[in-house]
Symmetry: C2
DNA sequence: GAGTAGTGTTCAGTAGATTGAACACTCTAA
DNA sequence: TTAGAGTGTTCAATCTACTGAACACTACTC
């Protein structure tokens, strides 16, 4: 499985059925990962282990497709990516239904609700309903978060099999933290997962932002293709109450159930 | 300029420095353009004029990069595109500043404001501030609109040189329409552009949605690289007044000026 | 069941994309 | 001015990714 037939495949993974495409994708990811969002041809060539001349060809082709743009000597992600990302989201019927439901739900309609999707050991926010303008979130649509740091993330991995969780978070692994309340170790995470499974929903108590609590539930996938989705509500800890939480979880679960059933 | 050196380049444009990449980009665009968002290998092969075996290779590479996903026999855009699109937007400082300004602006903070970017003869919405939840827009972030159908679009092309406008909209050209008020011909559009230049802002009177009016201004680019951006406010015609409009234009212009000056 | 129209996959040969060394250029420093 | 360290570009040779025809498969239709 790991015999590198191609003598060239070192920097990137094993040989690809269309190496130029794989490399182009690597270029896009490198640009997305770069702190400034801008890299020169030489930067990319060095970082990805692709010869300069080849990198130049890739960049020209990517630029022509508007997947990247030239800014002086630097290259940055291109506007076409916004279009493509939007096209992806517009096809996710769940997102449309999510908005409709939130608007008419008795409790949720006044809260900040989000729908997110699992992507490896991170969560990506797909859409946000803001019924409560006072709670301005720092996270935007498309942002990524480590699963251990948010309620949706925990709700989503709680659905995985134990051995998958173990391979993602081997015992002894340290987790990224953002506040004093953040889970610090794989063990803590796994302990909380069993509580989440018992209760049927996930929670977050100032683990990513001080003063903010979250509740989340997974959307049942019933074995369909497509990503695993999750829903979360965010509230200020100062004004949060147990009763309110129970109401929100009830509505979240109802929405999750209806999103899980394609029939509505 | 148009001598096709490569014997192969027929379906797609002239020969590319990295054909596989250009083709992969075409695949992504085809999927984005497809009404259902799902196409089979054979569909793509036929539509793009790429041999099936090559298409298969492209799709495998794209799938590995998560730029597309397999759904049974169909292929669809992949979740990685959401991440990349979000990465693009997060690097546009203008978007961040846009939110901040809207929140504290006296008039705009209570309205629905959007920031958009010019992309050929269309406009792409980058972000939306919703200070007035009663006006729910059908357009989402990333959506495209023909320039002639929205105020931002008109504000942005009003900045172009006349000969560029003429080549985009040659006399006699029919424009896409959405309501009875939509501009119907290139001549009507050009007439309105000269009014827009005179007034310094663009307007839209139920041209895309009945009952809705819009005002828009361009963000000055002072020759920098990067896309041309525009700002718009949306209001219900029923509650709209001239005085309110004047206030909103004033604030839009102030925001546009500050976005145009990287110094803040 | 045989026939047809669709799917995607396989594989050896060849057309052509990829390559690296040399080049042209722009800075900054001495 | 000259040197040096950086940038991106060029081009012919080579090695490989692409191709097309044949194949295997599924799903209907008759």
């Amino acid at each position: 499985m790991a015999d590198s037939r191609s003598p060239r495949s070192e920097g990137l993974g094993a040989s690809s059925p269309a190496p130029a495409v794989t490399r182009a994708a690597a270029v896009l990811e490198a640009l997305a990962a770069s702190p400034s969002g801008r890299l020169t041809l030489s930067d990319l060539s060095r970082e990805l282990g692709i010869p300069k001349s080849s990198t130049s060809n890739l960049l020209l082709a990517l630029e022509e497709a508007r997947l990247i743009t030239r800014q002086g000597a630097d290259f940055a992600l291109g506007r076409k990516l916004v279009e493509l990302g939007a096209a992806y989201l517009s096809r996710l019927d769940e997102v449309q239904e999510f908005y409709k439901y939130c608007e008419q739900a008795p409790t949720l309609s006044g809260e900040t609700v989000r729908i997110a999707m699992l992507d490896g050991d991170h969560v990506i926010y797909l859409a946000r309903y803001e019924g409560h303008p006072a709670v301005r979130l720092t996270s935007n649509i498309g942002d990524k978060m480590p699963v251990s740091l948010c309620s949706v993330g925990k709700a989503l991995i709680a659905q995985l099999h134990d051995h998958d969780i173990d391979s993602m978070f081997p015992d002894g692994m340290e987790l990224p933290t953002m506040t004093a309340n953040s889970l610090k170790s794989a063990e803590e995470l796994k302990a909380q997962i069993s509580v989440i499974r018992q209760r049927g929903y996930a929670f977050e108590d100032e683990e990513s932002t001080v003063g903010v609590v979250c509740l989340a539930v997974p959307v049942p996938t019933h074995g369909a293709h497509g990503p695993s989705l999750g829903l979360s509500v965010t509230a200020l800890k100062a004004t949060y109450s147990e009763e309110q939480g129970a109401l929100m979880v009830k509505e979240l679960k109802e929405l999750a159930r209806s999103l899980g059933n394609p029939m509505g």
